[in-house]
Amino acid sequence: MDPERTDVPPDRPEQAMPPPRPRWVKALGIVLALVVLAIVVMAVAGGEHGPGRHVPGSGSPAGQAPPAQQDS
């Protein structure tokens, strides 16, 4: 098989046991876990984290009621 081709899985020699989890998977898992943890901490500590925190009626204590429209 052409080693330059990346559109098909590589050939694998026979292995008696399943391969160990690659280091890059563990590293990426740690990074993503830290990101998720940071988001959870932000959400718990700060309430709503998106633009909804400024939207009235969204349940956030930071929400502000819009002024009544005075169209004439």
Partner: protein, 167 residues
């Protein structure tokens, strides 16, 4: 999957996936415009444009990217659960799509408020930079995984390959 069909599916997947990344960057530019100007009409226009871009570009691209990705995985020898880069790409894309779909109603509500308020209240709406920024990082991780396809077979993939190789 036949080669011609596979290439068509791959073309579709690449188009919508890279298009999704471009649309997120465009969405972010609107958000930055909203936070960097004092002009009321510009802020409102940016938010209205973000809502339209979100519902009519980002959401369709995200769903299509997810579906074509699954189609590509299941229709080729890579499979959906056999290789870590495919598995992680799938779950990150699924996560990004779900968060996007759940987030857009908040954007719509914010646009309603943006059309009504002025001054400090309008400024307080910000520019919705958090979600698309995280989303962009996730999409770039998925893109890198899809290009480099780092080696690593899951236990399931290893078992499947061994069972397929047995005479």
């Amino acid at each position: 999957m036949k080669p011609a069909v596979r290439k068509l599916a791959l073309s579709a997947h690449l188009t919508v996936s890279v298009g999704w990344i471009g649309a997120v960057i465009a969405y972010l530019s609107l958000g930055f415009a909203a936070v960097s100007t004092d002009d009321t009409e510009t802020v409102r226009a940016a938010w209205i444009a973000m809502e339209i871009t979100g519902w009519f570009v980002l959401v369709p691209l995200a769903i299509t990217s997810l579906l074509t990705g699954v189609l590509m995985a299941l229709g080729t020898k890579w499979g959906l659960f056999r290789h870590y880069w495919v598995l992680i790409s799938f779950f990150l894309t699924l996560f990004a799509t779900v968060v996007l779909v759940l987030h857009m109603p908040t954007v719509t509500k914010t646009v309603v408020v943006a059309k009504q308020v002025e001054g400090a209240a309008l400024e307080a709406l910000g520019g919705d930079l958090f979600h698309p920024s995280i989303g962009l990082v996730i999409l770039l991780i998925v893109q890198v995984l899809n290009i480099y396809k780092p080696q690593g077979m899951t236990r399931y993939g290893w078992r499947k390959e061994h069972s397929e190789r047995r005479p």
